[in-house]
């Protein structure tokens, strides 16, 4: 295992060295120099956004051509057939390089929906979409949430009715990331309103260019539009696009959600790391003359304790995984902490900056923090609200009894 990992590491480095430059050292920074963006969500104009997505596709294609497009996937669909540990190792090494951000493709499509298609789709669908997704040609989105079904996902109401060889879908989805760039969407629909709510759901793969699919950007409080509303009006989906059993869609959803928990919470570089960087935060204290404010110093210390302990949790989970053991609750706890750590950081910074966060003076590294501040409420909701995460921890880890549920 050790030996295999060494060979794999060397191979990854040969590939990356041949194609991209090393990333600039993110820990080294000088106050007032370089990019001061603290945006968690994108607020790029559509033109730039499309270029961004194209760069992501290009890099995914290069990864695929060199055998790193789908490290854990089966070879018949262009995968490498290696373990999740190889995948994590690849990610860790790649983070040292200056590569295009492939988040639009990888987090939801390749991380969550790809494995679901692999597990539940009919053979023709797997052949049609899996290689395309991992080659960067097809982007996938998750048509799960609805206005009436947030954390209680089993309450989906979008209807699917059998009509000859097709199914006809009607309803509205919401919070759909990357729908505006997607070629396919994985939809949960209600096929049996009389069954208990978990048992009347069916999953379909919906081609996003099918007539009746309408994507409307949903502007969020940061000002950007990362999410969309998706309206499905008499959308015809062929029977072979069904995933799993009729009325058995909850099992399909669980596959996706399990992979979601493995994907969300493994954030690292970029503005997120900068927001919790001791160097940057201490430089900010100097720049704002709050350096010797004892109350702020105590808060900074607490903030760093949480950020570093959360890092230790992630390190432990990774080590457990490397030893071939399924990690415990570390990832769920880390996800919960991650939203809180960034929230505390944003408010700590706000208290250092004072009025300078209220309006843009044009001064480097000041008003830019408003981007993070406005993103923080979402960080405590996305991928499951804090309340849901706490229920999961209490019930699945501590074995507390479930709440009375409808």
């Amino acid at each position: 295992m050790e030996h295999d990992m060494q060979d794999f590491t060397a191979e990854v480095r040969r590939f990356l060295d041949a194609h991209v430059a090393k990333a600039p050292d993110r820990t080294a920074f000088t106050w007032g120099e370089g990019d001061d963006s603290m945006a968690y969500f994108s607020s790029l104009p559509p033109e730039e956004e499309r270029e961004h997505v194209q760069r992501a596709r290009d890099w995914q294609r290069i990864r695929h051509e060199n055998g790193f497009g789908w490290i854990t996937g089966p070879p018949e669909y262009g995968g490498r057939g290696l373990t999740p540990v190889h995948d994590l190792l690849y990610d860790a090494i790649e983070s040292e390089y200056d590569v295009a951000d492939t988040g639009t493709l990888s987090v939801i499509g390749l991380g969550m929906i790809g494995p679901t298609i692999l597990a539940h789709a009919q053979p023709r669908i797997k052949d049609r979409w899996l290689p395309a997704m991992y080659r960067g040609d097809a982007i996938a989105c998750q048509l799960f949430s609805e206005p009436g079904a947030g954390s209680d996902l089993a309450s989906v109401a979008t209807k699917a009715v059998r009509d000859g060889e097709d199914w006809v879908l009607n309803g509205q989805k919401v919070w759909t990331s990357v729908a505006q760039h997607s070629q396919i969407g994985l939809a949960l629909t209600r096929t049996n309103p009389d069954a208990p709510k978990h048992r009347g759901i069916t999953a379909f793969l919906v081609p996003m260019d099918a007539p009746g699919v309408e994507v409307r950007p949903l502007r969020q409080m940061t000002g950007g539009a990362d999410f969309n509303e998706v309206f499905l009006t008499d959308v015809r989906v062929p029977e072979d696009h069904r995933l799993g059993e009729i009325d058995g869609g909850w099992t399909v959803a669980l596959t996706t959600l399990m992979n979601e928990r493995a994907t969300v919470g493994s954030e690292g570089a970029g503005p997120v790391a900068a927001a919790l960087s001791p160097d940057r935060l201490s430089a900010l204290m100097r720049a704002t003359w709050t350096w010797d404010d004892r109350a702020l110093r105590a808060r900074l210390a607490e903030l760093l304790v949480d950020a570093m302990a959360t890092e230790h949790l992630n390190t432990r989970a990774l080590r457990t995984l490397r030893a071939g053991v399924t990690p415990g609750p570390e990832r769920s706890v880390a996800k919960l902490m991650y939203g809180q750590n960034l929230t505390r950081a944003a408010h700590f910074v706000a208290d250092c900056l004072g009025p300078r966060l209220v309006a843009d003076t044009g001064k480097w590294g000041t008003y830019a923090w408003s981007e993070l501040l406005l993103a923080t409420p979402a960080l405590r909701i996305l991928g499951g609200t804090e309340e849901i995460m706490k229920n999961i921890l209490a019930e699945r880890v501590l074995g507390l009894p479930k709440e009375a549920r409808a």
Binding site: R294, A301, L304, V305, H312, P329, V333, A394, L398, L400
Partner: protein, 371 residues
């Protein structure tokens, strides 16, 4: 020497079994009101059967030569069981001070006895202000003209100070804070038990009146030695705290599963469920912080002082939180003398303040980060 995962599990389970048999709650309650505040037989068994005092003493001084990771496992278990014993004072504080001094002669003189469980020892640093800051030490040592020293001054909060055979004292010389070894039974040493918030950890005030003392390590090196001891001791304490916090969480979860109110288990109410989940989050963070710090110490990585400061702050807070919430989950019963919750509450608060408390450990972390 270092143990692999299965050896660590075995170590944990044998220590836990031993403590369940020899340090159940009744035993802790009896000992916390007796003098000495530990059971000599249990201490002897811990040494003879489990070789606990010798675990992390280097082999050249008669120990088994294991490291901080193994020590952490033992301390987590001791923290769970609230064991009354001179382990923390002798092995975590005094022995580590001897090792940190780099004085091979002093180590050879004292460590074999400690490893064998024959010698108990204490480390006397803080005075009436409770501070571990070397700049605030006023006890003094002067040369006696025969190559020895004479010690004068007063130390407080000395853990196991009335029972330790050997006392290591930080006192000021012309060269600065320095470490000295004193026999507790020497003429001129007066030891008086202090009333303590956490009765499971005995503390004493020691007065030294021209007591013969042996310099340990270099004259004036006390500040450096103390910094190292604080790193090791706070990581040790963090493990103890993580163990205690885990125990509080288990008590709460067990109770929330079985106690019924309004016709259902209280753990099915979201308010109680979330209290327990919040405790779990703190406990997971505490274990990660303390175990990673121990690992960093074992591997000698350069970020160890930072990891130690993180573990100290994180585990202090987590234990205090878990101990407080544990009483809330139990309701009125948790506030009674008969329920063990207050024993953990007392240990948690006492441990949090042992080396100075939040204001001090926050600044120590920032200092280590160059902030």
């Amino acid at each position: 020497m270092s143990a692999d995962d299965s050896e660590l599990r075995e170590l944990r389970s044998s220590v836990r079994q031993f403590l369940e048999a020899r340090s159940p709650e009744e035993a802790v309650r009896k000992l916390m009101e007796s003098e000495p505040r530990f059971d000599l037989d249990v201490w002897a068994q811990a040494a003879d059967q489990l070789r606990l005092p010798s675990l992390v003493i280097p082999e050249e001084y008669g120990g088994d030569g294991f490291g901080p990771v193994e020590l952490g496992v033992v301390l987590e278990e001791m923290g769970r069981a609230l064991l009354c014993s001179p382990f923390f004072s002798t092995v975590v504080l005094a022995a580590q001070a001897l090792l940190a001094s780099g004085d091979k002669g002093a180590c050879a003189r004292h460590l074999p006895g400690i490893a064998a469980g024959r010698t108990t020892a204490a480390l006397a640093v803080a005075e009436d202000g409770g501070s571990w800051d070397p700049a605030l030490i006023s006890a003094r040592a002067v040369p006696d003209g025969d190559g020895g020293w004479r010690l004068n001054g007063r130390k407080s909060f000395v853990i196991d100070g009335t029972t330790a055979d050997l006392v290591l004292v930080v006192a000021r010389t012309v060269a600065g804070p320095s470490l000295f070894a004193v026999e507790r039974t020497s003429a001129g040493v007066a030891a008086e038990a202090m009333e303590t918030l956490d009765a499971t950890r005995a503390m004493a005030r020691l007065t030294f009146d021209t007591v013969p003392a042996a310099l340990v390590g270099a004259d004036g090196a006390g500040g450096r030695v103390m910094a190292r001891v604080l790193d090791i001791a706070t990581v040790g304490l963090a493990a103890e705290q993580a163990g205690g916090a885990r125990r509080c969480l288990e008590m709460s979860a067990d109770y929330a599963r079985t106690r019924h109110q309004f016709g259902r288990p209280i753990g099915s109410f979201q308010a109680v469920k979330h209290k327990c989940a919040d405790m779990l989050v703190q406990v997971e963070l505490a274990e990660a912080a303390s175990r990673e710090a121990a690992r960093s110490a074992a591997e000698g990585t350069p970020d160890f002082p930072v990891a130690a400061a993180v573990a100290h702050a994180c585990c202090s807070r987590a234990y205090m939180f878990a101990a407080m919430e544990n009483i809330q989950v139990h309701g009125g019963i948790g506030f009674t003398w008969e329920h063990p919750a207050h024993l953990y509450f007392r240990r948690a608060k006492s441990s949090q303040l042992l080396f100075g408390g939040p204001a001090v450990y926050h600044e120590r972390l920032l200092d280590r980060l160059g902030i």
